[in-house]
Symmetry: C2
């Protein structure tokens, strides 16, 4: 199998960190989003959504999107478990992972894609053009501010995002916090619990992936 990746993009970094935490090696192919390689006919055949990450299996099956790829990798490399070990833990990691995506990652993307000149008519990922909506740049920033407060409150109560154990929810959260730099947002001094957690997860070797 091989992973279609882009070193500079946040979404595939979620998978790179996941792979590093598993302690395995997966060959990677770089797709230059800057040069529009995701829109080539060849890549579109692998993922009509024109996004990375995509995991291509040896039989040609293509799995696109970070959570589907992580699901596959968790099944074939169960240890260490990053999607949970029992029914409750699995459900709560699913829940918190989605909250990191919906309230965090997507909010940063909304702010970024609707305000960045290079993303004109690319307000949404994918093959279809959608105009930037200036109101969404503001809304995205508001949502990011709410997300940082929420995450700080959560991390005042638990060591990791989904509970006592490091999981894929921490990976999505870490990538989201680093993605915040793209819109010049960051945790404030008052987000002490978020900062404590951020320093801890950033110090793991996987964070360099």
């Amino acid at each position: 199998m091989q992973l279609y990746d882009c070193e500079t993009a946040p979404s595939p970094r979620r998978v790179r960190i996941f792979i590093a935490e598993k302690g395995v090696e997966v060959p990677r192919v770089q797709v230059s989003l800057k040069d529009g390689e995701q829109f080539s006919a060849e890549f579109r055949a692998k993922n009509p959504l024109c996004t990375v990450p995509v995991l291509e299996l040896d039989d040609g099956t293509c799995i696109s999107g970070a959570p589907p790829v992580c699901r596959y990798l968790e099944e074939i490399y169960p240890e260490p478990a990053l999607l949970g070990r029992d029914p409750v833990e699995k459900a709560l990691i699913t829940m918190w992972g989605r909250r990191m995506e919906n309230e965090g990652f997507e909010a940063v993307a909304e702010a970024f894609r609707n305000a960045t000149p290079g993303f004109k008519n690319r307000a949404l990922t994918g093959p279809h053009e959608f105009a930037q909506v200036p109101a969404l740049a503001d809304r995205g920033r508001q949502r990011v501010a709410l997300f940082l407060d929420m995450l700080n409150d959560r991390l005042a109560a638990t060591r990791f995002v989904a509970g006592p154990v490091y999981s894929v929810a921490d990976i999505t959260a870490l990538v989201t916090i680093d993605f915040c730099r793209w819109i010049k947002a960051e945790p404030a001094d008052r987000h002490a619990d978020l900062r404590r957690w951020y320093d801890a997860v950033s110090a793991r070797p996987s964070a360099a992936a």
Copy 2:
């Protein structure tokens, strides 16, 4: 355990159909979204996002959102498998389920919530107010049209959304197609494969849930 539900809302219907396919019974508590019961302090303590579905376990643990609740139910009631049986099937069902959400369900919600007078300042679900954005009502409808074409193409190639086997991706897709009525959209005559699939999944007893 008990499920916090709202009979008239599409999101909790995803879980009701899932439960019906499992052939189990889960006690349900109705939350009147129309009367704003989701914003009560009591409900907010169960789900700060103020949304249904929420599954409350006997120890008080609350799991919110359709996919996390379905994950829990799949773990405790594995048969019939609705989230996949082997690594590739699990990954592809995750991928197609998310596509139904992101390209379908969220597009209908975008069109509906940004155009419906009763949803003023509730353009996004959750406890925070966000103004309607008229441009998103249009964008949502464009996205729904693209979704219907995409899903028809997919169902020309496979019996069910994620492949040869009925799965949670079909449940999300079915609920999305019915949700389309809220914005007066529907599959066109040319969507023959989508219609064939829709008739089949709608005829399952679970669809009445």
